[in-house]
């Protein structure tokens, strides 16, 4: 295991990754015309990729920099919580919207778990490092 970067470096790495992630999300969301379909796609893809990344980087020296930059940074900025919640509240069918919110929570966790399981098969000697989960 390696020591995590300082708090200031961690914040900068997350910010830099988030800037790129936010632009990718904006482009995808605009191309898909917004709404639920775009949010489902980017949130499930981002959750699966974060599981995969966290598993693949576990125990590696490069994780010190790459984990905050690509994990909470790129993928954290790519996926979003606020747009889903505002869309749910602003929806004309509140029951169906809350059901979609619950389904996205369950399937998001399932996607992250699937990514983690796949990574452990590809790279079986790691363990989930704390800094990748922040």
């Amino acid at each position: 295991m390696t020591t995590p970067p300082s708090a200031g470096t961690h914040v900068l790495l997350v910010a830099a990754g988030s800037a790129v992630g936010a632009v990718l999300r904006f482009l995808l969301d605009t191309a898909a015309g917004g709404g639920w379909a775009a949010l489902w796609t980017l949130n499930l893809a981002g959750a699966a990729l974060l599981g995969l990344l966290t598993g693949l980087l576990a125990g590696r020296r490069s994780a010190r920099w790459l984990a905050p930059l690509l994990g909470p940074g790129l993928l954290g900025g790519f996926t979003t919580f606020s747009a889903v919640l505002v869309l749910t509240v602003g929806s004309t069918g509140p029951v169906a919207a809350v059901a979609q919110l619950g389904a996205m929570t369950l399937l998001g966790a399932l996607a992250a778990w699937a990514g983690l399981v796949l990574a452990r098969r590809l790279h079986p000697h790691g363990d989930v490092p704390a800094e990748a989960r922040r």
């Binding site: 708090a7 800037a19 974060l50 909470p72 606020s82 889903v84 998001g108």
Partner: protein
């Protein structure tokens, strides 16, 4: 979409990501409970509700504050992975509490933000 809109999203995304990164640094997980991400997600939901109703649709300032700042301040991927980590550690009640608190407080915050933004927009319009 102009290059200025993309720059606005990137700038907002940088600031939102920095705030979330800072929040997770100062609010360390308490007994495995991800406090920092919870605060970021709930605060970002309130701010996005406010921004979408108070700021003009399609404007670069909404791209900066909404898709950029609020979008990057909040996260679904870390929310999902933290739930998995809690479940793998057999912290089922903590995982359920974290999910329900995030969604419940997020819904209330988004509703409050939408109301505040509508009120603000109406009171500023002559």
């Amino acid at each position: 979409m102009t290059v200025w809109t993309l720059l606005a999203v990137a700038l907002g995304g940088f600031a939102g990501g920095a705030l979330r990164g800072w929040l997770t640094t100062v609010l360390r997980p308490c007994d495995g409970f991800p406090r920092g991400v919870l605060v970021a997600n709930v605060a970002g939901s309130l701010a996005l509700g406010l921004a979408t109703t108070a700021l003009p649709a399609g404007s670069p300032v909404l791209a900066l504050a909404g898709a950029g700042f609020c979008g990057a301040l909040t996260t679904w991927s870390t929310f999902s992975l933290d739930l998995v980590v809690l479940l793998e550690h057999r912290r089922h009640r903590t995982a359920a509490g974290y999910a329900l608190l995030s969604l419940g407080a997020g819904l209330l915050a988004a509703a409050l933000g939408l109301l505040l933004g509508t009120w603000l927009q109406e009171s500023l319009t002559p």
